[in-house]
């Protein structure tokens, strides 16, 4: 009797188990010619974590209108996507949740769709992973720097940037900050504008921040710079 039970159960469980093995590959029912970003690039998160906002892209046809049921594939070295493949919805959009890899730095996310006449349309987006030092820098930034160095206001934190002249550099302003060496930034933070013949609006933080905290802020500034910061020195292949 018991054996019969087990057999019946097993025969029930087997097909159920098989159904779960491997996701069904999605088949596109329509094709577009272009893929564009809706939202979700340049997000900043800690290494290994899931990005707070989904990455949303849109597939357009030759007429510029969104295409429904086109297949979008997401990939990126070191990243994981849920789902990695999706069909566009009625507004031509597909979204995925992305998880960053183990290493700090820039991650390149590629969204890809097959074009109607063959070939592929791709879109490259940038996401930013913070390691321990950059995370510490982010915390220091959010406490001390952000009020004046970020134009965005929240109900809890009104930006002071517009009240200042000359306006402080936003930390994402790679065009300006990438040209400054680490030593210059350290000097600026430690000794303030007054010590360097620049605007005294920037206070000296040498008695407030520890050396490691100043270093961490610079690591954070380098991580979020747009265009991305390239460290000086010889580049080697991997």
């Amino acid at each position: 009797m018991k054996l019969l039970h087990i057999t019946v159960l097993a025969s029930l469980a087997l097909p159920a188990g098989c159904r779960h093995s491997g996701p069904q590959p999605l088949e596109p029912k329509a094709y577009g010619t272009q893929i564009i970003e809706v939202s979700g690039s340049k997000q900043i998160a800690q290494v290994g974590s899931t990005l707070a906002q989904p990455v949303v892209v849109q597939v357009n046809g030759a007429d510029g209108n969104p295409v429904t049921n086109a297949l979008v594939t997401f990939r990126g070295e070191g990243m994981q996507f849920t789902p990695a493949q999706a069909l566009t919805d009625s507004s031509g959009q597909a979204s995925t949740t992305a998880q960053l890899g183990f290493e700090a730095g820039d991650y390149q996310l590629t969204a890809e769709t097959t074009k109607s006449g063959g070939g592929r349309a791709t879109l490259n987006l940038r996401e930013i992973a913070l390691g321990y030092e950059q995370t510490l820098g982010q915390a220091v930034n959010e406490k001390y720097c952000i009020r004046c160095h970020d134009s965005e206001s929240t109900p809890e934190r009104v930006s002071n940037l517009d009240n200042l002249s000359p306006a402080p550099h936003q930390f994402t302003d790679g065009a300006a900050l990438n040209r400054m060496a680490d030593a210059d930034l350290t000097n600026m933070i430690a000794n303030g504008g007054l010590g360097l013949g620049k605007s005294p609006q920037m206070p000296a933080y040498r008695a407030t921040l520890k050396q490691a905290e100043i270093k961490a802020v610079i690591a954070y500034i380098r991580a979020v710079a747009d265009p991305p910061y390239q460290a000086p020195g010889v580049k080697y292949g991997k």
């Binding site: 779960h20 800690q46 290494v47 290994g48 974590s49 899931t50 707070a52 949740t97 998880q99 960053l100 890899g101 183990f102 290493e103 700090a104 390691g131 321990y132 030092e133 995370t135 510490l136 915390a139 220091v140 406490k143 001390y144 009020r147 004046c148 109900p155 809890e156 934190r157 009104v158 930006s159 002071n160 009240n163 200042l164 007054l194 605007s199 005294p200 609006q201 206070p203 000296a204 933080y205 040498r206 008695a207 407030t208 490691a212 270093k215 961490a216 690591a219 020195g233 010889v234 580049k235 080697y236 991997k238």
Partner: protein, 681 residues
């Protein structure tokens, strides 16, 4: 020698067969002897070290190659039982190699410890002494702790560091959630310093709940708390309709009268009918939104999360109860964090009708409960007891359960053999912890743990905090454990103390290490402020910071109460490091003030963050200083300018390393900034 001792026949030459056998045996022996050296020769670490030397040779013209010593490398910390050989393959952790490289040759990113202080597996897990990639990184039959995914890595820090740190936001959030989501009501979480994690969510007592709300509301709430208030932290017990109806019947049946039940609120017939605009203005003027949130038309919550969300409060509470609550919350709930406002009858009438209008008529429209019977009440009590409701809520006739849920003190080292995985799950600890937090009933419908409403980030943060609860952490040497700042049990005494408790000052302000962090610490407030300002502020709190949305409410204190509070604050809350005589009042003359003004506007450009003159200055970051000469004492100002962090740890104000005379001149200038006669601020 005798005859018998004659030489035997000579041994014939070995046959070919024997030779072959001998050869095979010898070869087999040699081969078996070669296994160990070969394994060594073809080992993962040797392979990687060779590759490393290749790269180093290309990049550093041999200098690094010559100084490199090949072989197994290990970090040995006997005190912690650390034997980590990860460096045998990860040879570039210190970053000797020029330029960037892929694993295993990446440089270790900067951390606040040296690598040989704790080794690798302390934070990363995996098997430290292993020398093959497979055994070091993944689960084997003999070793079940694989490498920890990066998103939980902060749990490594949490083994020693028990308080919040700037570099570990995930761990901080997770620990906070363990308290604010009430996990610690049911689970024991003992930290390495021996202290228990304490819940910090203030679940309301239910002993008088029939006064507050209806049975229908209780039913709808326990069926799905988040349908009533999106921000509710109460978990979903996934109750059947019948069970929810019975629990609501029992909760109504056990309810007794509160001490405030018979307090008459005499709104009086004279009171004019409440005016909606005025009531909304009163809600704003009392700064209710500092603590309570309301969902706006766009669906966003506006307001604080210190008290319950009020979006649909009109569908919940009885109007009589609400009036008594507004009159004095402690009459219903002695332990409430809500202050006792001194509202008059008209204000109570306005506020209560304003709040009763915040309702959602659909919320209870479809709730039709059968009348309660003795059976349903008894069944409800059984469910309340079994589901552990009393672990969080005070309920008449039900004792808080003991050892109700598993002890989580060492959950971060739980042996996988003791873990029951749900079908289809990966067999590792982090995935188990995450799945358990996300949907406990997926492990079996009979499990008691309810389902909490959490974002993915919150789940990861909670998992990080729990994974820090390891065997290793529990057995750490005492000197390595960095405890969190402990709250004291300070309570102000005397008449003023009673008044301060009635006003619930410590809900927002910390005093001598006990209290909230929403508002400034008051431990040294008596050294900081002038009497006239303090009395005026208590009468009519006005904001010091133009950009702040959370503000001190107006309590409508009597002159007597204001005097009691001011006297106490000015005499009891003095900073020991501050001497009122530090600053010679004669030195604060007009000449000094003139120099101070120069320093303020030109040299240090304080107007970037502060407003000294509302006409010209725009700085938003720090408090407005336009009447600071009425507010602060010169001694406090001077010390503050010299070293703000010494007076208020963690303040935003940077230390400008001012010279003594600069601080004195700035103090002289700031003391000239007074409110204009006639009350202008």
């Amino acid at each position: 020698m005798d005859d018998n001792d004659k030489p035997g026949p000579l041994r014939s030459r070995p046959t070919l067969r024997e030779l072959t056998a001998f050869g095979v045996v010898s070869a087999a022996l040699l081969l078996s002897l070669a296994i160990a050296p070969a394994k060594n020769y073809f080992s993962d670490w040797r392979h990687f070290q060779k590759e490393y030397l290749n790269i180093a040779g290309q990049r550093q013209s041999g200098t690094l190659v010559r100084s490199f010593h090949s072989g197994i490398r290990q970090i040995w910390v006997p005190k912690l039982g650390v034997v980590d050989r990860c460096e045998s393959c990860h040879v570039n952790l210190e970053g000797a190699l020029l330029g960037s490289t892929a694993q295993p040759f990446r440089k270790h990113p900067p951390i606040p410890h040296t690598l040989d202080e704790f080794g690798c597996a302390f934070c990363h897990r995996g098997q430290g002494p292993a020398t093959s990639v497979e055994e070091a990184h993944y689960t084997t039959e003999a070793w079940e702790q694989p490498l920890l995914p990066a998103r939980y890595l902060e749990s490594g820090c949490g083994q020693c560091h028990l308080g919040p740190m700037e570099g570990t936001p995930g761990l901080n959030d997770g620990r906070k959630l363990l308290s604010t989501m009430g996990c610690a009501h049911c689970h024991i979480v003992k930290q390495p310093d021996g202290n228990l994690l304490k819940p910090d969510d203030n679940p309301p007592p239910l002993m008088h709940i029939a006064e507050k709300t209806s049975r229908e509301w209780i039913y709808a709430w326990i069926k799905n708390p988040q349908a009533y208030a999106a921000s509710a932290t109460m978990p979903n017990f996934q109750l059947s309709d019948q069970d929810a109806a019975d629990i609501s019947a029992f909760l109504m049946a056990q309810s007794t009268a509160s001490s405030a039940a018979h307090t008459p609120i005499n709104l009086g017939a004279r009171t004019p009918p409440p005016d909606a605009t005025q009531a909304a203005a009163l809600y704003g003027a009392l700064f209710c939104s500092s603590c309570h949130a309301v969902q706006n038309a766009a669906g966003n919550l506006v307001g604080g999360n210190f008290g319950p969300e009020l979006t649909r409060v009109g569908s919940k509470v009885n109007p009589d109860w609400l009036q008594r609550w507004l009159n004095n919350p402690a009459g219903y709930e002695p332990g409430t964090r809500m202050p006792h406002y001194r509202l008059d009858a008209q204000q109570i009438g306005q506020l209560s009708s304003f709040l009763m209008n915040k309702k959602d008529d659909d919320f209870l429209a479809n709730v039709h409960l059968p009348p309660a019977t003795a059976d349903s009440v008894a069944h409800g009590k059984k469910l309340v007891t079994e589901d552990g409701c009393a672990a969080c809520h005070q309920i008449n006739g039900v004792n808080p359960p003991q050892n109700f849920a598993p002890d989580l003190t060492r959950v971060g080292s739980r042996a996988l053999a003791q873990v029951v995985f749900a079908p289809g799950m990966k067999h590792n600890l982090p995935d188990y912890v995450v799945a358990k937090i996300r949907d406990p009933r997926s492990f079996g419908p009979a499990l008691k743990m309810p389902k909490f409403t959490l974002t993915n980030q919150q789940v990861d943060a909670l998992a990080t905090a729990l994974l820090a609860q390891t065997d290793r952490a529990a057995g750490l040497p005492e000197e390595l454990v960095t405890s969190a700042a402990r709250t004291t049990n300070y309570h102000p005494g005397g008449d003023a103390g009673r008044l301060m408790e009635d006003l619930r000052c410590r809900s927002c302000h910390a005093i001598n290490g006990n209290g909230g962090d929403m508002a400034p610490d008051l431990s040294w407030e008596g050294s900081a402020v002038q009497r006239a300002w303090l009395e005026d502020f208590l009468k009519n709190p006005n904001t010091l910071r133009p950009a702040l949305i959370r503000r001190m409410p107006k309590f409508n204190l009597t002159p007597g109460e204001i005097k009691t509070l001011s006297d106490y604050i000015l005499s009891a809350y003095q900073s020991p490091g501050l001497d009122a005589q530090t600053v010679d009042p004669h030195a604060l003359d007009a000449a000094a003030a003139g120099r101070g003004k120069q320093l303020f506007y030109s040299r240090y450009q304080c107007q970037s963050c502060h407003i000294a003159d509302y006409k010209n200055d725009k700085g938003y970051v720090g408090p407005a200083l336009a009447s600071v000469g009425n507010r602060l004492t010169p001694a406090w100002m001077y010390k503050w300018l010299k070293d703000p962090n010494a007076l208020r740890a963690g303040t935003l104000m940077p230390n400008f390393s001012l010279k003594d005379d600069e601080a004195r001149d700035l103090t002289a200038f700031l003391m000239t900034l007074k409110a204009k006669q006639g009350g202008g601020k």
